[in-house]
């Protein structure tokens, strides 16, 4: 596992051992890959019928995902050209806390960027540094309901443990942040 800079000074992503690209690059490629999306929605077609997001045909769902992904990517591309200050604002607008209750290490939030059913998951360090751990097409209300979203929860946890092991958030680090507030 390693940490890859995406753009600016505040956005990073995890790249898993054996993978050719980081999780951020991988998600945007998959969300714009017709072959991947066709297989994905065929596999999850039950979630498109009268479910959390309403009724969709597989073709509609694929095209919708592609268009969301394109718009989302263009927004991030635009953000990458902005000043550092604007990038910080933009990232904070995109990423929202994953749950109402902060994690025990409060400055180290699990966060998500959301565009309809597309999700990017990230760990937040300090106020504005985000480390992307993965992403998903979330078709159900909770992440625990489906294997592929449940796996993302595990990836967030693995990423969090990796960062702690690398000394990004350890006991000293936590104290530093508290003392600096």
């Amino acid at each position: 596992m390693k940490i890859i800079p995406i753009f600016g000074k505040n956005l990073f992503a995890i790249q898993h051992t054996g993978e050719t690209q980081d999780e951020f690059a991988k998600m945007f490629e998959l969300w714009q890959d017709p072959e991947f999306l066709e297989e994905f929605f065929e596999k999850h077609k039950i979630d498109l019928i009268n479910n959390y997001w309403g009724d969709w045909t597989i073709e509609e769902a694929i095209i919708e995902t592609f268009e969301y992904a394109q718009d989302f990517e263009n927004k991030l591309l635009e953000l990458s050209r902005q000043s550092e200050e604007n990038q910080l604002k933009g990232l904070d607008e995109i990423f929202k806390p994953l749950s109402d209750t902060p994690t025990p290490i409060f400055q180290f939030e699990k966060s998500k960027a959301r565009v309809n059913w597309l999700r990017l998951y990230a760990i937040k360090i300090e106020n504005n540094i985000y480390v992307i751990t993965g992403g998903a097409i979330k078709l159900t209300k909770t992440m625990q309901e489906r294997h592929h979203t449940n796996e993302e929860l595990e990836k967030i946890e693995k990423g969090r443990r990796y960062l702690i092991d690398e000394g990004i958030v350890d006991v000293d680090g936590l104290i530093e942040v508290i003392e600096n507030q």
Binding site: F7, K9, I63, Y68, S99, R114, N116, M143, E152, E176
Partner: protein, 149 residues
């Protein structure tokens, strides 16, 4: 004292993500890839529905078209800038319509009171009716519901 920002910059890889270059390339091609994507989806869905009937597959399609499976894979990834010749071949083999060129003329006419743009409106109406690639209104970046991922 080293901050978390210093620490992460120190341990992060020196190589940048491949995302930025890939995203710029996708942006540069976005107008035609929007169409090639939709064509790819149509082909993939058709292959899937024909498979139990006649054994259609990407490999079989490649054989029938006398092209390599790699080429067909590029087509179904939406990455091939298709020629009309190729599109027609695919249409004939799969028995589907991938491109439907709308007629600029229509028998119907939309009447608009006090407007001099009747002809244009009629043409546009015809265009939108014939359009085989649809679009949606959707709201981007919906608000967080708070509790769920």
């Amino acid at each position: 004292m080293e901050t978390p920002r210093d620490k992460i910059s120190r341990i992060a890889s020196k190589e940048k993500s491949k995302w930025l270059d890939a995203a710029k390339e996708r942006y540069a091609k976005k107008d035609w890839t929007k169409r090639s994507f939709k064509i790819a989806v149509r082909i993939l869905r058709e292959i899937r529905s024909q498979k139990p009937i006649n054994g259609m597959s990407q490999k079989r399609l490649a054989e029938l078209m006398e092209v390599s499976p790699q080429y067909i894979n590029k087509v179904v990834k939406g990455k091939e800038n298709l020629t009309l010749e190729t599109i027609t071949k695919i249409e004939q083999i799969l028995g589907i319509v991938l491109i439907n060129v709308p007629s600029a003329e229509t028998k119907g006419e939309i009447t608009f009171k006090d407007t001099g743009f009747k002809g244009v409106l009629a043409r546009n109406a015809s265009k939108s009716i014939s359009e085989d690639i649809w679009s949606y209104n959707y709201s981007l970046y919906s608000e967080s519901t708070g509790t769920y991922g």
